[in-house]
Symmetry: C2
């Protein structure tokens, strides 16, 4: 019962400690985009002595290994999610904070074109939509 992220760590040669295993497990099972405090809260219920510094160091480690993605949405602290197999962007509900993932190949293609036209290779991008629910 090693978690998804745990397997990726093994594959990347990242040393697995008990704490990292717990953080990996919690992140693997999280369907949302928790911030460090929230992660620490969730992990603490499994190991009450884990320090928040360890959570910070671990998410950074995972991020640098390409195992998790970090997001800095407007006005919020950094949030994390397990690196997805297929890329997606985010729509943030400005009233509730709810995050919805979406994929749009046309936009992806246009971004590459724009970059190319400006003389650049697209290395990374950030696309976030902020919206309010349409009432009916």
């Amino acid at each position: 019962m090693s978690s998804d992220i745990e397997n990726k760590c093994a594959a990347k040669g990242v040393r697995l400690t008990d704490q990292r295993k717990l953080i990996a497990k919690v992140m693997s099972e999280s369907g949302d985009h928790p911030d460090v405090d929230e992660l620490h809260k969730r992990v603490s219920s499994l190991d009450s002595k884990i320090s928040i510094a360890t959570v910070y160091r671990t998410v950074k480690l995972f991020e640098e290994a390409g195992i998790v993605d970090k997001h800095d949405f407007k006005g919020n602290k950094a949030r994390y999610e397990q690196a997805p197999t297929e890329h997606h962007d985010h729509l943030i509900d400005i009233n509730t904070g709810k995050i919805i993932e979406f994929v749009n190949e046309d936009i992806e293609k246009l971004q590459k074109e724009v970059a190319k036209k400006l003389g650049y290779n697209l290395v990374d991008h950030r696309l976030e939509l902020y919206g309010s629910k349409i009432k009916k």
Copy 2:
């Protein structure tokens, strides 16, 4: 010789102090996207006693009045630019930090469509491309 931003302040009923006038002037004349430190540096050459707290308070004030835009590009501190008349997005050169502005109506339209399809009205968005220059 009142600056562009100064006029907008008057129009919005924002009280104009000497310090604010200087910050408005510097921002009006800036073609780039300076951060608060840089703004403070530029303003200090006109008034050496202006405090950085005032710069922070003023850019926030201008931002809330819709007079300047704030950008939090990846890995950098907040940068500011005079609110443009026509919207644009940014491409950031990951090697030099250079910022290039661009407009793409197709992407804009697609963003609205994506939001609508998810049941949201698009209120705001963030699109940043990170790229490296194509060598020839």
